[in-house]
Every structure is written in structure tokens, then in C-alpha cells.
Subunit: 107 residues, 2 copies
């Protein structure tokens, strides 16, 4: 994706299981995961993510943890940033993990 600017993220082969589990072992970040599970890009607006009760900087912190763990990717477009799940990368790295996690988290 040379024509797309992205915030720093680990290469697929460098995504670490313990780091991913730590990233997802938090209720706010699990809420974000469920939002991103649709595969679409999401803006960083806390309102659109159902996180109105949190300060924007808190939401940004949680997004950063997810991105640095390799769970999400962030595309930069001017002043906007769009976050999406690295579904293909995670499925390749840890087969079956998201398939097990997402239904369990949504129930």
C-alpha cells in the first residue's frame, strides 16, 4: 500500500499472541474490536463508536494499543484517520482466534 499512509504497525509475522491478548483484555478495547468486526473503516470519533462517556484522549490511547499490537490498521487521509481490523493478518497469524473471540465477545 505504497500510496496509502498508515500509522506504524507491526508486520504480520511480528504480531505477538500475548500482546494481542493483553490488548483485548480490556473492556473498552473489546468494545472497539466489536465495532471493527464489521470489516469497515471507522473514524476515530468516540460518539460513532458508542464511547461518548470517554475522553477523546482515552479513546485514542486504546486505539493506539490495538494498533501497536497488530489488531488494527490506521489509514491517514489528510486530517482524518480511519481504523479497521486486520482480519486477514490475524487469521493468517492465529487461525481460528477471531472466529472464536468475536461470537464470545458479542454474546
Amino acid at each position: 500500500m505504497s500510496d496509502t499512509e498508515r500509522l506504524p504497525q507491526p508486520a504480520t509475522a511480528d504480531i505477538d499472541l500475548v500482546t494481542v491478548l493483553h490488548a483485548l483484555g480490556d473492556p473498552v478495547r473489546m468494545t472497539l474490536l466489536l465495532s471493527y468486526a464489521d470489516g469497515a473503516e471507522h473514524s476515530c470519533d468516540p460518539h460513532g463508536l458508542g464511547l461518548d462517556h470517554l475522553h477523546k484522549s482515552t479513546v485514542s490511547h486504546h486505539m493506539r494499543v490495538l494498533r501497536e499490537a497488530g489488531v488494527t490498521t490506521t489509514r491517514v487521509a489528510g486530517r482524518n484517520r480511519f481504523v479497521s481490523l486486520r482480519r486477514t493478518d490475524l487469521d493468517a497469524r492465529f487461525p481460528g482466534l477471531l472466529d472464536a473471540l468475536l461470537p464470545a465477545a458479542a454474546s
Copy 2:
């Protein structure tokens, strides 16, 4: 198991996904999970768990986190305590999760 004394642990229905992920999002606790993956009971001796480099109280702390999250059960027999994985309970609560986690963690 009325004839067996166990340390406190959540009922199967009360095992919380985020709490489990938080418990497993730590390298020492992931090492313990891999030891317990054989389904057998294990003593709390750090040496037998390949954790000689850690103080016994540190290992005890990590074991407590796993037990309180519902990942393990601890049977008390006199002065001895034996820890094992709650495989059946976890498989019932979060189908496919351990099946995905254990191979990924072992690789």
C-alpha cells in the same frame, strides 16, 4: 465435587471473556497455560513449571490471576495444591477459543 476442597473460582457461567484475555495477556501466565494444556494436575513448584527464575510469590500471584479468571482450578490436599486447566468449562463457555490459542501459543 463436595468431597474435594478447591480454592475459590468463578462458576462456569460467570467466566468473563475480557477477564480471561487479560489473564492470558502476560508471558508468565501464557507459559503456565501451556504447562496446564496437558490436562494434568500440576504442583505449584516453580521449578516443575520451568519458572525457576521467578520468586515463588510471583508465581503464586500469576496462578491466582488464572484461577480467579476461571482459567484454572486449584485442588487442595492437605498442604499441597494442585492446579489444572478448566478445559471443559472454557470450551463450553467460549467454544474454539483454547483450540485456537494453544497451537498459536506453542508455536
